[in-house]
C-alpha cells in the first residue's frame, strides 16, 4: 500500500515481495557487548552463572537484540527519488522467543509501504519494512517493523 503522491517514485515491484537478508551466527560475545553498550543490568544477559540457573540454561539476548542486524544497506535499494538524507524513523520489535549463544538467525524482509507526509523538517517520505528473524529450528524469534524517513538535508 502507498499513497498516490506523484513525487513518490520508487521500484513498486518490491512492495510485498519477500527478500532474503541472510544469516548471522550469534555469539556470547555479541550478546554481552549488546547488553553492555545499551546499559542492561539484568544478569541474565551477561552472567553465565545466572544464565545456567535460569529457565533458559544460558544467558539470553536482550529483547531488542535483533536490532543490531537491522541495516538499511542489506535491503534492496527501492530507488526512491526523494531526499538526500535517510534516517531511522521508528521501529516495532516483538520478541517471541529467546535468542541464545550459538543460535543461527536468518532474516527475511518485505517492503510494506511508502508514503509522504510533512513535519517540522519539511516534506518527508517514509519507507516501511517488515522483517522476521528465525532461528536454526525454524522458530520465529522476532518480528520487526522498521520505518525509514527520507528528507532534504537542510530542513526548510
Amino acid at each position: 500500500m502507498t499513497n498516490e503522491d506523484p513525487d513518490l517514485k520508487f521500484d513498486r515491484s518490491l512492495l510485498g515481495a519477500e527478500q532474503d537478508m541472510g544469516s548471522v551466527q550469534v555469539t556470547r560475545e555479541m550478546i554481552v557487548r549488546f547488553a553492555r553498550s545499551t546499559g542492561e543490568t539484568n544478569p541474565i544477559y551477561f552472567d553465565d552463572e545466572a544464565g545456567k540457573k535460569s529457565e533458559h540454561g544460558s544467558i539470553i539476548a536482550p529483547p531488542t537484540f535483533c536490532n543490531s542486524f537491522v541495516n538499511g544497506g542489506t535491503r534492496p535499494d527501492i530507488g526512491l527519488e526523494f531526499g538526500d538524507l535517510s534516517l531511522f524513523a521508528g521501529q516495532s520489535i516483538e520478541s517471541l522467543a529467546p535468542v541464545k549463544p550459538n543460535d543461527s538467525l536468518h532474516a527475511s524482509t518485505k517492503l510494506k509501504e511508502v508514503y509522504a507526509k510533512t513535519g517540522r523538517s519539511g516534506k518527508m517520505v517514509f519507507t516501511v519494512w517488515q522483517t522476521s528473524f528465525k532461528n536454526q529450528d525454524g522458530g520465529t524469534v522476532a518480528l520487526v517493523e522498521e520505518s525509514f524517513v527520507s528528507r532534504k538535508r537542510t530542513p526548510r
Binding site: 507526509k117 517514509f126 520505518s147
Partner: protein, 213 residues
C-alpha cells in the same frame, strides 16, 4: 463541556494509542478529579468512515468524535464534520493540497477546517503568507508544542483576532486531554461540534486547570 479536539490513534502512522485505551485513560483522569467529556480523533491524512465508536462511547461514557488532520501548503489543518461530499472533493492523502481551498471546501460541505499548531516550526500557519479572513478559529493550545511554538501560536492568533481551541495532539495514551477546548454549548456529534466552533463560544484550557476540589 471539555473536549480534546486533536488526537491520533493507531490509525495514524505515528501514534501508538488505541481508541479503547484513550477511553480507559479518560476514566483514569476523571478518577483524579480532572474534567474531560471526550475527544476527537483527528487521524493524519485520512478519515475513518468505517470506524464506529458509538458502543465504546456509550460503555465508557466518553464522547468520541472523528475528524482529520491534513497536510497542506499552508501547514496542517484540523477538519471537523468530514463527509463524503468533502472527501470526494479533496484528496486527504495529498500533502500538497491548497490549505485555503481546503477551508473553502470544508465550509461548502458543512465542515470546518482550522489551522493546527499554527506556531509550529516548519508546518505552522504563522510561517505562511495568506488571507486568513476565512478562518473561524485556530488551535491555540497544542499539547505537543516544543519550546517557542506555543508563544508563536498565541501571538499569531491574537494578531488575527481568532478564537483559539485546545487539543493534546496525543500520540500516546497518557497524553490524551493534556489540553482541551472548553465549550459553553453542548455537543453530542460532529455536526454540533462544527456549529460550536463556528459560534466561537469556547476557550482553550490545560488539563491541570480543570481539576475539581
Amino acid at each position: 463541556m471539555y473536549l480534546d479536539l486533536h488526537s491520533h490513534s493507531v490509525s495514524s502512522d505515528d501514534s501508538r494509542a488505541t481508541v479503547e485505551q484513550y477511553a480507559k485513560w479518560v476514566g483514569v483522569l476523571r478518577g483524579k478529579g480532572f474534567q474531560i467529556d471526550g475527544f476527537v480523533l483527528t487521524e493524519h491524512r485520512k478519515f475513518d468512515f468505517d470506524q464506529d465508536y458509538s458502543a465504546l462511547s456509550a460503555d465508557s461514557n466518553v464522547l468520541i468524535l472523528k475528524g482529520s488532520e491534513l497536510d497542506t501548503n499552508f501547514g496542517h489543518f484540523l477538519v471537523y464534520g468530514v463527509t463524503e461530499k468533502l472527501t470526494d472533493r479533496v484528496n486527504f492523502s495529498d500533502v500538497h493540497m491548497d490549505g485555503l481551498e481546503l477551508v473553502a471546501a470544508a465550509a461548502d460541505t458543512g465542515a470546518v477546517a482550522i489551522p493546527a499548531h499554527p506556531g509550529r516550526f516548519g508546518i505552522g500557519l504563522c510561517e505562511f503568507e495568506g488571507d486568513y479572513s476565512v478562518l473561524h478559529a485556530g488551535e491555540r493550545f497544542n499539547g505537543s508544542n516544543r519550546p517557542g511554538e506555543q508563544e508563536r501560536a498565541e501571538e499569531f492568533l491574537s494578531g488575527l483576532n481568532l478564537a483559539g481551541t485546545g487539543g493534546s495532539d496525543a500520540h500516546l495514551v497518557s497524553a490524551i486531554g493534556k489540553c482541551m477546548t472548553r465549550f459553553e454549548g453542548s455537543i453530542s456529534d460532529e455536526t454540533e461540534l462544527v456549529r460550536e466552533i463556528k459560534g466561537g463560544a469556547f476557550s482553550p484550557v490545560w488539563l491541570d486547570d480543570t481539576q475539581q476540589g
